[in-house]
Amino acid sequence: MDKIARRKFLKVTGAGVAGAAALSALGPLATLVASVSNGMLHFRAVTGLPNSPLPAYASYVLEGRVNLKTKSGVMTRALMAGAPEAMSPIAFPGVARSATVSNVRVTDRVVRITGRVDDPAQLLKGESPMAEITLDRSKGLAWAQFFGGEVTMRLEYTEI
């Protein structure tokens, strides 16, 4: 498919300015990342949907930049065309969200991040205004909601 600019993609997805800022700060996909530096946690979690063992058609991507000390930050989520191993820059419209972090709980290497979707007008039927993700860096996994179902995601990270 045609490559489209990352900024254009964010415009297409409706991720918003906050999401764009967060994503652009995270850098290229190959180096991403859940890294901790100066109390800042950057993460990216990805899973193919539908979940295995069925062939994945799309990729669900959650990214965030969270200050663990102030328990603040931003998370974004998007649904991209293509399975994770062949993800395209094409986002399905109407699904992308940005959320402002409202709480962070850290237990050992498990981090539970809670936020609220910035634009409630974007919410679809039955979609929660809350955004939550649980990161287990020891297992390299994350868990989040996708339209009524919990999905297990691969957490990519690197220490800085």
């Binding site: 498919m1 539908p50 979940n51 649904l79 293509g82 062949a86 679809l124 039927k125 039955g126 339209f147």
Partner: protein
Amino acid sequence: MADHLDAPGLHSPAPGGPRTDITDVYAFVKPGDAGKSILVVNVNPLAPTLATAFDPNAIYELNIDTNGDAIADRAFRVRFSEPAGGAQHAVVHLATGPQAASANDGGAPVIVHAPVSFGQGATVTAQGDYKFFAGIRSDPFFFDLLGFLAGFKFTQGDFFHDKNVFSIALEVPNAAALGSHPQIGVWARTLIDTGHALVRDDRMGRPAINTVFNHGSDKNTFNQIDPAQDRTAVTAEGMTFVESFANTLIQLSTVGASLGGHGAYSADQATAIAEILLPDILTYDYSNPGGFLNGRTLTDDVINIELGLVTNGSSLHDDADAHTDLLPEFPYLGNPH
């Protein structure tokens, strides 16, 4: 996701992009005239977000198999001019025999200089016994995509209710255009003319085949082989597509068992169904006005039919209904959103 964005990240480099990404294929008897058929191939999912015109370097094909050997005996080939000044024009050739069977640009012209519709109106070109339309239209496909991705939790309704595509529609005389034997097979293919070769880009017969059954790079492989190879070509894992489809059917029917289905398919059952699904050709009897699995009309609920099949008789269904914006006459596809 009948075939929308079926292999979006696999092209390197992307030869055609969304302009040649087939989303759906339809074949049905013309309402009120049993002597004619309507053939439709839609491309460019989410139009005009990703692309705003047809690809002037592409050949858009509607292939017809008249004798059941999964090889094209007739091929309608549509090419478009370079977009200029907000306009684009199409020419349609009809190739027959060996010329239809191979990848080339040949055939006798049946439609020339047909304008593409970029706005609300549908400009129809009628020449001889044929009618032709090309342009942006409301996407007639309906499906709770998000519910499917969430693991069959169908609560979100029709993802495609406000989406557009670029449509190519032909009204053709049955016997003269499709052959004297009414039982035919139909599939669409897009080819990219690189100046040195014609490169296969996408193809589709029945809905939700490549998107649902094929894994990873197999999606791209599947697009680049001909239907006659569907039962013998091998996947990246070294098994045939029939074996791969059978495995997926067993997995889907296992899921279906918890949703009221009759249990997981046996290997023999799954293989038998896989051999119905392959080759990926839309079977169509133009003497029979019934819809899918005989051809496909714009309102056939193909997803619910296929959900019942792949989950071995579960009552699983989404709540997406056929679109109500269809036109009463050719090209039948609704005005764009």
